[in-house]
Amino acid sequence: MNCHTTTQPASIDTEGSVALIGHPNVGKSVIFQRLTGQRATVSNYPGTTVEVMRGTARSLALTTIVDTPGVVTFPPVSEDERVAARVLLQEPLKAILQVGDAKNIRRTLMLTLQIAEMERPMVLALNMCDEAKERGVVVDHRLLSEHLSIPVVPTTAVRGDGIADLNHALKTVQPPNYRLKYPAELENALAKFGTHIQHTPIAARALGLAWFSGDPITEEWIAGNVSGEALLELVALRDALQISFVEPLRSIIQQVRLEYVENIVSSALLSSGANVQSFSSRLSHLTTHPVWGLPILGLVLYSLYWFVGVFGAGFLVDLLEVNLFGSFLNPLISDNIHRFVPIPFLADLLVGEYGLWTMGMTYALALILPIVTVFFLAFGIMEDSGYLPRLAALSNRMFKALGLNGKAVLPMVLGLGCVTMATLTTRVLESKRERMLVTLLLALAVPCSAQLGVIMGMLAGISLTATLIWSSVVLLILLAVGWLAARLVPGDRSQLLVELPPLRWPILSNVAVKTLARLEWYIKEVVPLFLIGTAIMFTLDKTGVLAKLIQAGRPLVVSWLGLPPEASAAFLMGFLRRDFGATGLFLMEAQGLLTPLQVVVAMVTVTLFIPCIASVMVIAKERSKKTALAMMVVIFPLALFVGGLLNRLLLLIGWGL
């Protein structure tokens, strides 16, 4: 079907661009980032609203990499595809780099043939080789390279595999030297077409095939580059050729390409993996299954509880708080402060009961830091493994009952990271109703990462039953309030479009970078706030206001919630940050001041409590001050009411006394 021509290989010049072409979601952007080092200029392609990214290649001298929008079909149909076609036809390219999906070799090769016919230097990157291998798809890329007479480089861009080979191939790339044979009538017409067209940006033969296929971008180019008389002759040539065939010319051309692709595939595809459904694809299906997805979610949450609660809040906190801070650092610093700071007030401010070091820094570094570190690590693993989008898809189904499906689910999931930022992301929701509902639920019942870590740590110290009671009550309140609010505020729902990436083993470097960035952000935010909070508590204590507040809170905290009076101080700290308050309760539990019942009641109350001051500010800014105030008026008594009710219920059944 093909015959190799004798085109002399010529090295490409050192100036110009390399265009990245490929179907959507084949990893073009990742390859672009690998080639350019994540640097790019983004601009609309002239005359369109389609964004095209350009960046300087790291390993190729004087070369710009152009990332084009994904192509589904050629001739182009959408505006994105037209832009990709324009780049191929009109840009001074020195090479084309096609990024193809190794799992979908037929579709990839159909595009390869069309690009190769342009007779421009080209390289094919067979990307996602790791996933192809998992699915049992094995391609002989050397044989493929021989068939197509172009370099074929297997890559796994997310891991950086094959990028060096790709750079090497791009340095020595040559135009392909094979030619498909089309039916005789079409070949004759292509020869005549060539006589009308001079100085074509791509091979005249490829331009002719695009013209006969009815490609609008080619028609546009030809109309601007040939005389009116020649254009009429070309139209007549196409019409005459069509008469020779029953089927449209485009189908005839595609049929020849398809046969050639089948020919290559039969020899180069060593295993199609048709009978192999990999473990990851089976698991991927199960994670979003309405029934099987739930036990998997349970398993994930249990692992999270064990990792964050038992390991982080138990083992690591013990190591830092008890051994390092409690036995070594705090006594050492306290002794020295008392020795070198003669003013008792100042010494108290630094290392007293509400001291900046003994409370602020110890809370931030010895108690919270180990917990959030393991939480961020776990979050990074869920994110990088591809489970998080699946969780969003699964939650989408679960939250339908609330009237909160679609995009509204995402901020709820994200709230587990930071409620403040999740509140900001509600602006991606299309209706005011959804923005309001999600903001309320976030403020009420979604604990942020730090608070969740502390809660898990406290509950893990009691029993799994305690964790189940806490999660059931919080979930029940979330569902009840959401359900009620959705009915009180009727309106439309926006759809959720989630791209499910393949489920894969997380990459250590990705997880490490994300965890470090989150930790740095957390330390920058939490340490100053904890110090401010401690200073406020210190002032309240010294002025006697704290004692009065504790006394005033006694009916609610002691009589209604059944907690020791000191818990009032923790709730006061919770106004600044919920995790600050939770840490106060964490320490009380560690000192044996709380029974299991009191821990569960305190945790439910603090979870449903008013969100941190930053969240309240964002709610006021994003919704309105009035809305923020209304929400706080609802949340504050509701949290106390539910906590007290739970206290009475548990007392009644005699649990955790």
């Binding site: 790019a40 990028i163 995402l410 470097s509 490490a512 970078v513 960035a517 989150r518 800014k621």
Partner: protein, 76 residues
């Protein structure tokens, strides 16, 4: 300086890290190493803004370059 690009883990949208206007209204934006996807709102790490992440990614990319360089040497 050209903006760094981020691909959203949830919806797959690729966007310049500094593009999202949410940061301008966020009280925690100062020193924040996160960025929100303009399409779905998911928070991703903006490596450029985090000192620790920058160091870590440099360490990992040095390793990567080392591997790639040795591969190229093998080829030649």
């Amino acid at each position: 300086m050209n903006p760094a690009l981020i691909q959203c883990t949830i919806c797959g949208h690729t966007y310049p890290a500094e593009e999202h206007p949410s940061c301008q209204t966020c009280p925690l934006a100062k020193g924040c190493a996160m960025t929100c996807c303009p399409v779905c709102g998911f928070q991703s790490v903006n490596v450029e803004r985090s000192y620790l992440a920058r160091i870590a990614s440099r360490v990992f990319s040095i390793n990567l370059r080392g591997k790639n360089a040795s591969k190229e040497e093998e080829k030649n």
